[in-house]
Structures are given as C-alpha cells and as structure tokens.
C-alpha cells in the first residue's frame, strides 16, 4: 500500500498523519445560552441580542469578530500570523463570515454546511495543515437566533408567533485555532459526509431529517477507521434534538452500533427544559459553542480524552422549499483526541 493511499480510509475518511493540533478555542454567546446548563463554559456573554448594533446581522458579525479576537488573544497571535481563515454561517451569501473576513484580512475560504459548518471547517483545517498548505488556520462559525429567523421564517421585528414544535437557533460564535504544532488535542481523522434526503419538507422536523445523514457518517467513520465505539468517550452530534437522537439510535442499532450514554447532542446540552426551547438548540453556533466551550474544557481537564464530533446540517433553502423541494441533510465527523 503506497503512502498516498493510506491517507484515505475507505470511501469517506481522511487520516491526518502529521500533527494537526487544536491549540486554542473561544466562544461568545447570547443571554439564553449563558442561562443554560453550560453557561459557565463560555468565554463572553452578550446579553443584548443586538450587541449594540443597528441590526441582528450586524450583531452576528460583531459576535464573530469578538470570538476571533478572543481566540487570537489566547494564542497571542495577530490576524496577520494566521495563514488561512475558514468560516461559514447560516445567512445568504454567508455574510457574517464575509464581513469578519473583511475585518481580519486573512486569506479566506468561505463554507456553507448549515449546522454542520463547524465540523466541515475543522475537517478543512485538518486537510490544510496535514497537507503542509498552512501552519495556522482559524476556523470559525456563528449563528444568531434573529438573523436566522429573518433568513428562514419571519423577521423577529414582525412580531409573529413561533410554532410550538420548532427548534431554537442558538445565538453564538465559536472560533478555534488549528496548528501544525503546539499544545492541545489532535485532529486525527475527518469523515466527509454525503447528502441524504429523506423527503422531509417540514422545517419543524429537522432532527428526524438529519438523523439518517448522521447515522451514515458515523457508521462510515467506524467502518473506515476500524475503530469501535469503545475507542471514544463520546460521540457528539450537533443538533439532532430529542426526536433526532431517538431516530439516530434506532438507525445505528440496526447497523449494530449501540451508542447508549456515549451519545451527546449539542442541541440538547445547550439548553435546559425550563427555557422553552422545545426540541432543543440548532444552528452553526450550537455545535461550535458547545465544542469550543464545554467539550474542549473537559478535554483539557482530562475528563474526556477522545471525542468524535459529528455536526449535522439541514440544508434548508426557503426558496427551494416554496418550490416544493424537500430539505436534505448532511453530517461531517472529526475525531479529536489526545494521543
């Protein structure tokens, strides 16, 4: 087997043979997130949903800028020392990312993966670092409840009523510095997901729509790496929510994988039942904030050593749905572990 072919495992997994280190991470969240069970794990709280800006979109950019500024500060780097910026968000034209890229002036690769963006960003960072194309990559993403409402449903300013079964888009930005050397957990593998469409047109049932994509990517990861569930302390999905988690467990059980307590879902973890968020949290910021805040902290403390982050995205386009299309799902996985 040649050296080149060993970097690809099976059909979907990439192995990073060179060190790809997640050295620093930071999070900025809104008020609801700060009041949830993980409230203490976030770096900065912005209680005003407009963050002193004139629009929710400008507020989201501000939060992203703050997250970048915080993480650069932790690494004692200037923006000029970062080789590539990898960023995405939920808005049309990924404007939050575009305007942060404008501020930072770092060579920029924009991504769209809906709520799977953070894992997609980490996967791409791994490829760039392992391939020797960059020494330092800044991977960031964000979501904001009210900019997402304008994008996908009705503007918050309209004052309309939310349907009771919806998920709540998380207001948060997460930023991570990924480097070719340094202290921190290693990104060792990335499993790139394919798009799955279960024919679901109801934007309120996204958990069930994304579960098959998550099951497929998780199964591919274990098959490609020949690892077992015991290898990881946790398999963390992005925002399947309570319904999606149930569907995922059923689908994986059919393939002989019993997740049990090892399955954590960021959308379920970030809010408490008393916060009236029904099915749980969603949005790019959900997995980014929970991972960069809570999970990384626990890894640094030594409480967990090996995590498989499987961020799931519902590729929802209001325009396509109005034309009668269904909403496809995708999930990307990255293995983050201490050696």
């Amino acid at each position: 087997m040649s050296a080149a072919s060993s970097k690809r495992l099976g059909k979907q997994t990439l192995r990073f043979d060179n060190p790809v280190v997640l050295t620093h991470a930071s999070t900025v969240v809104g008020r609801k997130e700060s009041q949830g069970p993980l409230g203490k794990d976030f770096d900065l709280v912005e209680p005003d949903s407009m963050v002193g800006e004139k629009s929710f979109e400008k507020a989201e950019v501000k939060m992203l800028e703050e997250a970048c500024s915080l993480v650069l500060g932790k690494g004692r780097y200037t923006a000029g020392q970062i080789d590539i910026l990898v960023a995405g968000d939920l808005l049309n034209q990924i404007i939050s990312s575009n305007y942060v890229a404008r501020t930072l002036s770092i060579p920029f690769l924009g991504l769209y993966g809906a709520c799977s963006t953070f894992a997609e960003g980490l996967a791409l960072s791994g490829i760039l670092i392992d391939g020797g194309y960059a020494q330092k990559v800044l991977a960031v993403t964000s979501s904001h409840h009210d900019s997402a409402e304008r994008q996908y449903r009705y503007p918050t300013e309209f004052g309309g009523q939310r349907p009771p079964a919806a998920q709540w888009t998380v207001t948060a930005a997460g930023a991570a510095i990924v480097e070719a050397m340094g202290d921190g957990p290693l990104l060792t593998h990335a499993t790139i997901g394919s798009v799955f469409d279960m024919g679901i047109k109801d934007a309120n049932n996204m958990g069930a729509a994304m579960a098959p994509a998550a099951a497929s990517t998780i199964e591919a990861h274990f098959r490609d790496t020949v690892r077992t569930l015991d290898y990881y302390d946790a398999v963390v999905t992005g925002d399947l929510g309570i319904v999606g988690q149930r569907v995922l467990k059923q689908l994986l059980a059919q393939k002989g994988l019993t997740l049990g307590d090892k399955h954590w879902d960021c959308g379920i973890m970030i809010y408490d039942k008393s916060q009236d968020t029904h099915a749980g949290g969603s949005g790019c910021g959900c997995s980014a904030a929970v991972f960069c805040g809570h999970i990384i902290k626990r890894m640094r403390k030594g409480e967990i050593r090996r995590v498989l982050l499987v961020a799931t995205g519902a590729l929802h386009s209001p325009c396509a749905v109005q034309q009668g299309e269904s909403i496809p799902g995708i999930a990307h996985a990255v293995a983050v572990e201490y050696a």
């Binding site: 949903s49 407009m50 009210d146 004052g159 309309g160």
Partner: protein
C-alpha cells in the same frame, strides 16, 4: 348583553376554526389569513354570511372572514348601480376605512415599537 355574548361566541368560534387549520394542517399564518378572507367572500356570495353578520354583529364582521364578506357585498352593491365597473370598484370602496386604518396603525406601531423576540 345577549348581543355581546353572541358576538364573543361566534367570533371566538371562527378563530378556533382558523387555529385548528393551523394546528392540524401546518398551514402558515399568512396562508390561513388569505384562506379566511376567501372563505368569508365565498360564504357572502352564497348568501350565508349576511344572515350570520345580522345574528352575531361584530363577532362576524371583525374576523377576517368578515373582511371577505365586505369585499363581496361592496362589489355587488356597486355592480348593481354602475354595472360591470362596479365589480372592480366596489370591493375596495366598501373596505376603504378598514384598510386605511390597518395600514395607518400598523405603520404607527412599527415606528414606536421594536420587537426583539
């Protein structure tokens, strides 16, 4: 007092029907509003809504179905007076006060308030 109770009951019932449509069919609020106006217009044309409005007063005229009723009655009145062009002018003429009020107060509310969710 009896008129008030009737208005309350009938108006409430019309709203319950609309809510059932929202809950059971997942139709979005905007589409339910359009449906209400259309149903009111149809019932008006069929001669059903008129007696209901007499019976329930504001309970029938305030909900959106009543708006559909006003549209159709206005068209019929004007058509009776000026012929074909009355169909085009009658609807907006009869609902002019309601429409202008809605636009005016909607605008004023948007100026003074700023819903943040």
């Amino acid at each position: 007092m009896e008129k008030v109770a009737l208005a309350f009951a009938v108006g409430g019932l019309l709203c319950v029907i609309a809510q059932l449509v929202v809950d059971l069919t997942g139709t979005n609020p905007a589409n339910v509003m359009v449906l209400s106006v259309s149903v009111g217009a149809a019932l008006s044309g069929l001669g059903i809504y008129g007696p209901l409005a007499k019976f329930a007063g504001a309970g029938a005229s305030v909900p959106l179905t009543g708006f559909g009723h006003s549209l159709v009655q206005g068209m019929l009145e004007d058509a009776g007076q000026t012929g074909f062009s009355g169909i085009l002018s009658g609807g907006l003429r009869a609902t002019a006060i309601g429409l202008t009020t809605a636009i005016l107060f909607g605008y004023l509310m948007a100026v003074v308030s700023n819903p943040k969710g």
